[in-house]
């Protein structure tokens, strides 16, 4: 979700195989650089594979370009990687959130599993609980929220949606990205 010169990404930390929970601490939100956060949902093996693949590509980018990648360029990179597997795709739904340019304008991007990008100004959702998330975010979202309020809104949205989805839950993490850095908070959720 985007706020005033800040963005926040929140996700749950349950890893399960259909109805069985396998792990409670799987992290699906990754920091690409000081300005970009990248989250994925879907098939865990593809999440891990793509995490390594993008880490490799970003390291190469930093060495060649001698600068950090901007969130918009990274989003296009993700879309291109996913579309190259158009017939035989990775089963993931990625979300990119970052702060673009010198003004630190919030940048949000979500793509589908084959890389069709959309750039909304307000919020993006993904995962097994995405329909609930969309409803609750649409209700609670306000424009130009400060980081503290943005954190509260994002957390409440995630907690509400996760309670209505059997396959999500068991812990959650919220990252708020501002120009001064990233604040990571772990929330108490229901353990069922």
């Amino acid at each position: 979700m985007a706020g005033k010169n800040c963005v926040a990404i929140a996700g749950d930390t349950r890893f399960g195989v259909r109805n069985q929970t396998v792990a409670l601490d799987s992290n699906r939100i990754f920091k690409i650089n000081n300005r970009t956060l990248f989250g994925m949902t879907g098939l865990n093996t593809d999440i891990l594979t793509l995490r390594e693949s993008f880490k490799f590509q970003m390291n190469l980018y930093n060495l060649e370009e001698e600068r950090e990648i901007s969130p918009k360029t990274f989003a296009h990179n993700v879309a291109q990687t996913l579309y190259s597997k158009r017939f035989g795709p990775y089963f993931i739904t990625p979300i990119i959130a970052g702060l673009e340019g010198e003004d630190y304008t919030p940048f949000l991007c979500a793509t589908d599993l084959i890389g069709a990008m959309e750039f909304p100004k307000s919020f993006v959702v993904a995962g097994t609980g995405e329909e609930s998330l969309m409803g609750v975010c649409e209700t609670f979202y306000k424009e130009n929220m400060e980081p503290d309020e943005l954190f509260e809104v994002v957390s409440q949205c995630l907690l509400a949606a996760v309670d209505r989805d059997a396959l999500s839950g068991w812990g959650s993490v919220v990252h708020v990205l501002t120009k001064d850095g990233i604040t990571t908070k772990r929330l108490r959720t229901r353990k069922d």
């Binding site: 597997k85 017939f87 589908d112 599993l113 084959i114 120009k179 908070k185």
Partner: protein
């Protein structure tokens, strides 16, 4: 790094996952869509709605469906969103390279041939239905391209899930002697008809008017459909601290070291020695 083209590495694994393990595949974003093109006396008008759907959910209420192929050749796309974006992008770059190597401005007919050959090669698996319109030195042209690679050249075209609603308006209002304002208004009405009557189309109306050496893009020319009339006035306010936190970690950005007057100090040190 891999060579160009599509990568089929995961195809086998995906087939097994879907058939043996009943894996629920994430949905692709489609552009349900109403797209329309009309030729008038001086050029071409293209129109599109702005809704992108993912199953029954609206994924993007305001996406751009009219893509640039070249300065005066534009293309509206319906079908799978990733396919329309990437196909038009690929043909746009091929056309740019071609026009640079031939030294001539590109023709609409060239874009048409590139697109139809590309789509036919994939036998309809790339689900992109396109309305290609533009003005080159031979005059205004308008074509429709189906996902399997067949094309038609017509004075007015509608495609997408809302094509029937739009075609009804076009058949009623089209005349071969239309001017620019009439054509714009006709396309606008056709798209609006698609938005109102078709569930897969919605959002705002985008228009693109192409004439000889001139192109005007009217993004969101009509937004009457996307303003929520009955919105709750007082926003919900969450007090700071209403969410219970277990752990908190703050990572501050490392401040960049500022190197000021580096050279001057170095020279001074040398002199002292």
């Amino acid at each position: 790094m891999q060579k160009g083209g599509f990568n089929f590495d995961l195809y086998q694994r995906n087939v097994e996952l879907i058939e043996k393990n009943n894996y629920k595949v994430p949905k692709t974003t489609k552009t349900g869509t109403t797209i329309v093109g009309v030729v008038f006396s001086d050029g071409v008008v293209l129109g599109a709605d702005t809704r992108a759907t993912s199953g029954p959910i609206v994924a993007d209420p305001n996406c751009e469906k009219i893509h640039r192929i070249s300065d005066y050749i534009w293309c509206a796309g319906a079908g799978t969103a990733a396919d329309t974006e990437n196909t038009t992008g690929m043909i746009s770059l091929q056309l740019e390279l071609l026009s640079l190597s031939t030294g001539r401005s590109p023709r609409v007919r060239t874009a048409l041939t590139l697109l139809k050959n590309f789509l036919f090669r994939y036998h309809g698996y790339i689900s992109a239905a396109l309305v290609l319109g533009g003005v080159d030195f031979t005059g205004p042209h308008l074509h429709m391209i189906h996902p399997h690679g067949s094309t038609s050249t017509l004075p007015y075209i509608s495609m997408g899930s809302g094509s029937l609603a739009a075609m009804a308006v076009l058949e009623t209002g089209y005349s071969s002697k239309m001017g620019e304002e009439d054509a714009k208004s006709l396309v606008h009405q056709a798209i609006l008809s698609g938005i109102l009557n078709d569930l897969g189309s919605g959002g705002n109306v985008d228009l693109c008017v192409i004439k000889h050496k001139s192109m005007e893009f009217f993004r969101n020319i009509d937004t009457t459909n996307s303003k929520r009339k009955f919105r709750k006035k007082l926003p919900y306010m969450f007090k700071s601290g209403s969410t219970k936190i277990l752990e908190k970690e703050i990572e501050e950005k490392m401040r960049k070291m500022e190197i000021v007057n580096e050279k001057e100090n170095a020279i001074e040190e040398l002199e002292e020695l």
